[in-house]
Symmetry: C2
Protein backbone atom coordinates (compact mmCIF):
# COMPACT_ATOMS: atom_id res chain seq x y z
CA UNK A 1 0.00 0.00 0.00
CA UNK A 2 1.39 3.40 -0.95
CA UNK A 3 1.09 6.20 1.56
CA UNK A 4 -1.91 8.51 1.23
CA UNK A 5 -3.41 11.00 3.65
CA UNK A 6 -6.87 9.54 2.96
CA UNK A 7 -5.68 6.23 4.42
CA UNK A 8 -3.45 7.64 7.14
CA UNK A 9 -5.75 10.19 8.76
CA UNK A 10 -8.53 7.78 9.82
CA UNK A 11 -5.99 5.60 11.65
CA UNK A 12 -4.31 8.57 13.34
CA UNK A 13 -7.75 9.89 14.37
CA UNK A 14 -8.92 6.57 15.78
CA UNK A 15 -6.02 5.73 18.10
CA UNK A 16 -7.06 7.93 21.07
CA UNK A 17 -10.59 6.47 21.01
CA UNK A 18 -9.23 2.93 20.72
CA UNK A 19 -7.02 3.44 23.76
CA UNK A 20 -9.85 4.97 25.74
CA UNK A 21 -12.29 2.17 24.89
CA UNK A 22 -9.68 -0.43 25.74
CA UNK A 23 -7.84 0.83 28.81
CA UNK A 24 -10.04 3.37 30.58
CA UNK A 25 -11.89 0.89 32.79
CA UNK A 26 -9.21 -1.75 33.23
CA UNK A 27 -7.79 -2.52 36.67
CA UNK A 28 -4.13 -1.81 37.41
CA UNK A 29 -3.42 -5.54 37.11
CA UNK A 30 -3.58 -5.00 33.32
CA UNK A 31 -2.49 -1.42 32.76
CA UNK A 32 0.60 -1.70 34.98
CA UNK A 33 1.57 -5.15 33.72
CA UNK A 34 4.75 -5.52 31.67
CA UNK A 35 6.81 -8.29 30.07
CA UNK A 36 9.68 -8.23 32.57
CA UNK A 37 12.59 -5.91 33.37
CA UNK A 38 13.04 -3.00 30.93
CA UNK A 39 9.75 -3.66 29.16
CA UNK A 40 6.78 -1.34 29.02
CA UNK A 41 3.29 -1.53 30.50
CA UNK A 42 0.20 -0.14 28.72
CA UNK A 43 0.56 2.88 31.08
CA UNK A 44 4.16 3.42 29.88
CA UNK A 45 3.12 3.05 26.24
CA UNK A 46 0.43 5.74 26.50
CA UNK A 47 3.08 8.03 28.03
CA UNK A 48 5.40 7.24 25.11
CA UNK A 49 2.65 8.10 22.62
CA UNK A 50 2.11 11.43 24.42
CA UNK A 51 5.80 12.25 24.18
CA UNK A 52 5.68 11.53 20.45
CA UNK A 53 2.83 14.01 20.00
CA UNK A 54 4.70 16.63 22.02
CA UNK A 55 8.16 16.37 20.51
CA UNK A 56 8.34 14.05 17.55
CA UNK A 57 5.90 13.77 14.65
CA UNK A 58 4.72 17.28 13.83
CA UNK A 59 8.04 18.80 14.91
CA UNK A 60 9.76 16.60 12.36
CA UNK A 61 7.23 17.54 9.69
CA UNK A 62 8.01 21.20 10.40
CA UNK A 63 11.80 20.67 10.32
CA UNK A 64 11.54 18.73 7.05
CA UNK A 65 9.33 21.32 5.36
CA UNK A 66 11.42 24.26 6.61
CA UNK A 67 14.98 22.94 6.41
CA UNK A 68 14.85 19.92 4.08
CA UNK A 69 17.92 17.73 4.48
CA UNK A 70 20.09 20.53 5.86
CA UNK A 71 18.93 20.11 9.46
CA UNK A 72 18.52 16.65 11.02
CA UNK A 73 15.48 15.93 13.17
CA UNK A 74 15.84 16.26 16.94
CA UNK A 75 16.53 12.78 18.41
CA UNK A 76 13.49 11.27 20.13
CA UNK A 77 13.77 10.39 23.82
CA UNK A 78 12.27 6.92 24.14
CA UNK A 79 12.32 7.06 27.94
CA UNK A 80 10.92 10.52 28.67
CA UNK A 81 7.54 9.12 29.68
CA UNK A 82 8.85 7.57 32.89
CA UNK A 83 9.41 11.03 34.36
CA UNK A 84 6.55 12.81 32.58
CA UNK A 85 3.85 10.27 33.54
CA UNK A 86 4.81 10.06 37.21
CA UNK A 87 1.88 10.72 39.54
CA UNK A 88 -0.64 10.90 36.69
CA UNK A 89 -3.63 8.60 36.32
CA UNK A 90 -4.15 6.62 33.14
CA UNK A 91 -7.35 8.61 32.59
CA UNK A 92 -5.33 11.84 32.61
CA UNK A 93 -2.81 10.40 30.16
CA UNK A 94 -5.56 9.23 27.82
CA UNK A 95 -7.14 12.70 27.79
CA UNK A 96 -3.78 14.39 27.24
CA UNK A 97 -2.99 12.08 24.35
CA UNK A 98 -6.39 12.70 22.74
CA UNK A 99 -5.99 16.50 23.00
CA UNK A 100 -2.44 16.52 21.63
CA UNK A 101 -3.32 14.17 18.78
CA UNK A 102 -6.34 16.26 17.79
CA UNK A 103 -4.25 19.44 17.81
CA UNK A 104 -1.50 17.80 15.75
CA UNK A 105 -3.94 16.47 13.16
CA UNK A 106 -5.47 19.94 12.94
CA UNK A 107 -1.99 21.33 12.23
CA UNK A 108 -1.28 18.56 9.72
CA UNK A 109 -4.51 19.21 7.83
CA UNK A 110 -3.88 22.97 7.82
CA UNK A 111 -0.69 22.32 5.82
CA UNK A 112 -2.90 21.14 2.93
CA UNK A 113 -0.25 18.68 1.79
CA UNK A 114 -0.59 17.24 -1.69
CA UNK A 115 0.81 13.99 -3.11
CA UNK A 116 3.67 15.93 -4.73
CA UNK A 117 4.83 16.98 -1.24
CA UNK A 118 5.40 13.40 -0.02
CA UNK A 119 8.75 12.89 -1.82
CA UNK A 120 10.18 16.02 -0.09
CA UNK A 121 13.23 15.03 1.88
CA UNK A 122 14.53 15.51 5.41
CA UNK A 123 17.28 14.00 7.49
CA UNK A 124 16.89 11.53 10.33
CA UNK A 125 19.76 11.70 12.86
CA UNK A 126 20.46 7.96 12.56
CA UNK A 127 18.67 6.71 9.46
CA UNK A 128 19.81 9.49 7.11
CA UNK A 129 17.66 10.72 4.22
CA UNK A 130 13.91 10.13 4.54
CA UNK A 131 10.84 11.53 2.81
CA UNK A 132 7.80 13.32 4.21
CA UNK A 133 5.63 10.41 3.04
CA UNK A 134 7.84 7.94 4.95
CA UNK A 135 7.64 10.11 8.09
CA UNK A 136 3.84 10.25 7.97
CA UNK A 137 3.55 6.51 7.18
CA UNK A 138 5.77 5.83 10.19
CA UNK A 139 3.47 7.87 12.43
CA UNK A 140 0.62 5.51 11.41
CA UNK A 141 2.70 2.33 11.70
CA UNK A 142 4.06 3.46 15.08
CA UNK A 143 0.50 3.76 16.44
CA UNK A 144 -0.34 0.27 15.17
CA UNK A 145 2.92 -1.15 16.50
CA UNK A 146 2.12 0.09 20.00
CA UNK A 147 -1.50 -1.10 19.84
CA UNK A 148 -0.15 -4.56 19.01
CA UNK A 149 2.32 -4.21 21.87
CA UNK A 150 -0.47 -3.38 24.35
CA UNK A 151 -2.41 -6.47 23.25
CA UNK A 152 0.71 -8.63 23.54
CA UNK A 153 1.75 -7.29 26.97
CA UNK A 154 -1.71 -7.91 28.39
CA UNK A 155 -2.16 -11.26 26.64
CA UNK A 156 1.12 -12.55 28.02
CA UNK A 157 -0.11 -12.06 31.57
CA UNK A 158 -2.24 -15.15 30.88
CA UNK A 159 0.49 -17.34 29.35
CA UNK A 160 0.19 -19.75 32.27
CA UNK A 161 -3.51 -19.19 32.98
CA UNK A 162 -4.58 -20.53 29.56
CA UNK A 163 -2.95 -23.92 30.27
CA UNK A 164 -2.72 -26.19 27.20
CA UNK A 165 -4.33 -23.53 24.95
CA UNK A 166 -0.99 -21.72 24.86
CA UNK A 167 -0.23 -23.95 21.86
CA UNK A 168 -2.93 -22.15 19.83
CA UNK A 169 -1.87 -18.66 20.97
CA UNK A 170 1.63 -18.08 19.62
CA UNK A 171 1.62 -14.44 20.78
CA UNK A 172 1.64 -15.64 24.39
CA UNK A 173 4.72 -17.80 24.09
CA UNK A 174 6.69 -15.48 21.83
CA UNK A 175 6.45 -17.81 18.83
CA UNK A 176 5.39 -16.07 15.66
CA UNK A 177 3.10 -17.55 13.03
Amino acid sequence: MNFSLDDALPILRSTPAVLRAWLKDLPDSWIRADEGPDTWSPFDIVGHLIHGERTDWMDRVDILLTHGESRPFTPFDRFAQFEASRGKSLGQLLETFAELRAANLHRLESLELRPEDFPRRGRHPELGGVTLGQLLATWVAHDLNHLAQIARVMGRQYTHAVGPWVEYLPMLSGVRR
Copy 2:
Protein backbone atom coordinates in the same frame (compact mmCIF):
# COMPACT_ATOMS: atom_id res chain seq x y z
CA MET B 1 -1.22 -13.46 36.65
CA ASN B 2 -3.75 -15.99 37.89
CA PHE B 3 -7.17 -16.03 36.29
CA SER B 4 -9.91 -14.03 38.00
CA LEU B 5 -13.29 -12.87 36.76
CA ASP B 6 -12.53 -9.37 38.10
CA ASP B 7 -9.63 -9.13 35.65
CA ALA B 8 -11.23 -11.03 32.79
CA LEU B 9 -14.61 -9.33 32.54
CA PRO B 10 -13.35 -5.76 31.86
CA ILE B 11 -11.29 -7.04 28.91
CA LEU B 12 -14.14 -9.13 27.51
CA ARG B 13 -16.45 -6.13 27.87
CA SER B 14 -14.10 -3.68 26.17
CA THR B 15 -13.33 -5.61 22.97
CA PRO B 16 -16.50 -4.66 21.02
CA ALA B 17 -15.96 -0.96 21.80
CA VAL B 18 -12.27 -1.19 20.87
CA LEU B 19 -13.13 -2.72 17.50
CA ARG B 20 -15.81 -0.12 16.84
CA ALA B 21 -13.54 2.81 17.74
CA TRP B 22 -10.79 1.37 15.58
CA LEU B 23 -12.44 -0.02 12.46
CA LYS B 24 -15.84 1.63 12.04
CA ASP B 25 -14.63 4.61 10.00
CA LEU B 26 -11.67 3.03 8.21
CA PRO B 27 -11.66 2.73 4.41
CA ASP B 28 -11.68 -0.72 2.78
CA SER B 29 -7.97 -0.30 2.02
CA TRP B 30 -7.40 -1.15 5.72
CA ILE B 31 -10.27 -3.38 6.70
CA ARG B 32 -9.95 -5.66 3.65
CA ALA B 33 -6.15 -5.79 3.76
CA ASP B 34 -4.46 -9.07 4.64
CA GLU B 35 -0.94 -10.49 4.89
CA GLY B 36 -1.06 -12.60 1.71
CA PRO B 37 -2.77 -15.84 0.63
CA ASP B 38 -4.61 -17.70 3.42
CA THR B 39 -4.25 -14.84 5.89
CA TRP B 40 -7.07 -12.83 7.43
CA SER B 41 -8.15 -9.22 7.05
CA PRO B 42 -9.63 -7.19 9.94
CA PHE B 43 -13.02 -7.92 8.32
CA ASP B 44 -12.34 -11.68 8.48
CA ILE B 45 -11.15 -11.42 12.08
CA VAL B 46 -14.35 -9.70 13.25
CA GLY B 47 -16.29 -12.52 11.56
CA HIS B 48 -14.16 -15.07 13.39
CA LEU B 49 -14.86 -13.35 16.71
CA ILE B 50 -18.60 -13.46 15.95
CA HIS B 51 -18.41 -17.19 15.26
CA GLY B 52 -16.65 -17.67 18.61
CA GLU B 53 -19.48 -15.91 20.41
CA ARG B 54 -22.07 -18.00 18.57
CA THR B 55 -20.56 -21.46 18.90
CA ASP B 56 -17.49 -21.57 21.07
CA TRP B 57 -16.94 -19.88 24.41
CA MET B 58 -20.20 -20.06 26.32
CA ASP B 59 -21.17 -23.34 24.66
CA ARG B 60 -17.98 -24.83 26.02
CA VAL B 61 -18.63 -23.37 29.46
CA ASP B 62 -22.05 -25.07 29.39
CA ILE B 63 -20.64 -28.42 28.21
CA LEU B 64 -17.94 -28.32 30.90
CA LEU B 65 -20.35 -27.44 33.70
CA THR B 66 -22.94 -29.99 32.58
CA HIS B 67 -20.82 -32.93 31.43
CA GLY B 68 -17.36 -32.40 32.92
CA GLU B 69 -14.74 -34.47 31.15
CA SER B 70 -17.24 -37.03 29.86
CA ARG B 71 -18.20 -35.03 26.76
CA PRO B 72 -15.57 -33.26 24.66
CA PHE B 73 -16.24 -29.73 23.40
CA THR B 74 -17.59 -29.33 19.87
CA PRO B 75 -14.64 -28.55 17.54
CA PHE B 76 -14.49 -24.90 16.51
CA ASP B 77 -14.70 -24.07 12.80
CA ARG B 78 -11.96 -21.52 12.18
CA PHE B 79 -13.18 -20.78 8.66
CA ALA B 80 -16.93 -20.40 9.17
CA GLN B 81 -16.73 -16.61 8.92
CA PHE B 82 -15.96 -16.63 5.21
CA GLU B 83 -19.46 -17.88 4.45
CA ALA B 84 -21.25 -16.18 7.36
CA SER B 85 -19.82 -12.69 6.70
CA ARG B 86 -20.49 -12.68 2.97
CA GLY B 87 -22.49 -9.64 1.82
CA LYS B 88 -22.41 -8.02 5.27
CA SER B 89 -20.88 -4.63 6.00
CA LEU B 90 -18.23 -4.25 8.66
CA GLY B 91 -20.65 -2.02 10.57
CA GLN B 92 -23.17 -4.87 10.68
CA LEU B 93 -20.52 -7.32 11.87
CA LEU B 94 -19.38 -4.93 14.61
CA GLU B 95 -22.95 -4.55 15.87
CA THR B 96 -23.55 -8.30 15.76
CA PHE B 97 -20.37 -8.98 17.69
CA ALA B 98 -21.27 -6.37 20.34
CA GLU B 99 -24.75 -7.85 20.83
CA LEU B 100 -23.54 -11.45 21.04
CA ARG B 101 -20.71 -10.55 23.42
CA ALA B 102 -23.05 -8.61 25.71
CA ALA B 103 -25.51 -11.51 25.80
CA ASN B 104 -22.73 -14.02 26.50
CA LEU B 105 -21.31 -11.93 29.34
CA HIS B 106 -24.80 -11.63 30.78
CA ARG B 107 -25.06 -15.44 30.71
CA LEU B 108 -21.59 -15.80 32.21
CA GLU B 109 -22.38 -13.42 35.06
CA SER B 110 -25.70 -15.16 35.72
CA LEU B 111 -23.75 -18.36 36.48
CA GLU B 112 -22.31 -16.60 39.56
CA LEU B 113 -19.10 -18.55 39.28
CA ARG B 114 -16.80 -18.57 42.28
CA PRO B 115 -13.03 -19.20 42.45
CA GLU B 116 -13.65 -22.77 43.54
CA ASP B 117 -15.39 -23.41 40.19
CA PHE B 118 -12.34 -22.57 38.09
CA PRO B 119 -10.54 -25.92 38.63
CA ARG B 120 -13.60 -27.80 37.32
CA ARG B 121 -12.57 -29.89 34.36
CA GLY B 122 -13.76 -30.46 30.81
CA ARG B 123 -12.33 -32.09 27.71
CA HIS B 124 -11.00 -30.32 24.64
CA PRO B 125 -11.26 -32.46 21.47
CA GLU B 126 -7.53 -32.02 20.70
CA LEU B 127 -5.87 -30.68 23.84
CA GLY B 128 -7.46 -33.10 26.29
CA GLY B 129 -8.24 -32.15 29.89
CA VAL B 130 -8.66 -28.43 30.60
CA THR B 131 -10.17 -26.40 33.42
CA LEU B 132 -12.95 -23.82 33.44
CA GLY B 133 -10.42 -21.18 34.49
CA GLN B 134 -8.21 -22.05 31.52
CA LEU B 135 -11.18 -21.84 29.15
CA LEU B 136 -12.17 -18.39 30.43
CA ALA B 137 -8.55 -17.14 30.41
CA THR B 138 -8.31 -18.33 26.80
CA TRP B 139 -11.39 -16.31 25.86
CA VAL B 140 -9.57 -13.19 27.14
CA ALA B 141 -6.23 -14.05 25.54
CA HIS B 142 -7.97 -14.92 22.25
CA ASP B 143 -9.49 -11.40 22.11
CA LEU B 144 -6.07 -9.84 22.76
CA ASN B 145 -4.40 -12.13 20.24
CA HIS B 146 -6.77 -10.98 17.51
CA LEU B 147 -6.48 -7.31 18.45
CA ALA B 148 -2.71 -7.67 18.06
CA GLN B 149 -3.30 -9.43 14.74
CA ILE B 150 -5.47 -6.55 13.46
CA ALA B 151 -2.74 -4.04 14.37
CA ARG B 152 -0.11 -6.19 12.68
CA VAL B 153 -2.12 -6.81 9.49
CA MET B 154 -2.78 -3.09 9.08
CA GLY B 155 0.73 -2.03 10.08
CA ARG B 156 2.29 -4.36 7.53
CA GLN B 157 0.48 -2.59 4.70
CA TYR B 158 3.06 0.18 5.30
CA THR B 159 6.17 -2.02 5.41
CA HIS B 160 7.46 -0.36 2.25
CA ALA B 161 5.87 3.06 2.82
CA VAL B 162 7.88 3.69 6.02
CA GLY B 163 11.18 3.38 4.12
CA PRO B 164 14.25 3.16 6.40
CA TRP B 165 12.08 3.35 9.57
CA VAL B 166 11.21 -0.32 9.06
CA GLU B 167 14.35 -0.99 11.11
CA TYR B 168 12.63 0.48 14.21
CA LEU B 169 9.34 -1.31 13.61
CA PRO B 170 10.02 -5.05 13.94
CA MET B 171 6.30 -5.88 13.68
CA LEU B 172 6.34 -4.72 10.05
CA SER B 173 9.15 -6.95 8.92
CA GLY B 174 8.15 -10.02 10.92
CA VAL B 175 11.11 -9.76 13.30
CA ARG B 176 10.13 -10.03 16.94
CA ARG B 177 11.72 -8.06 19.75
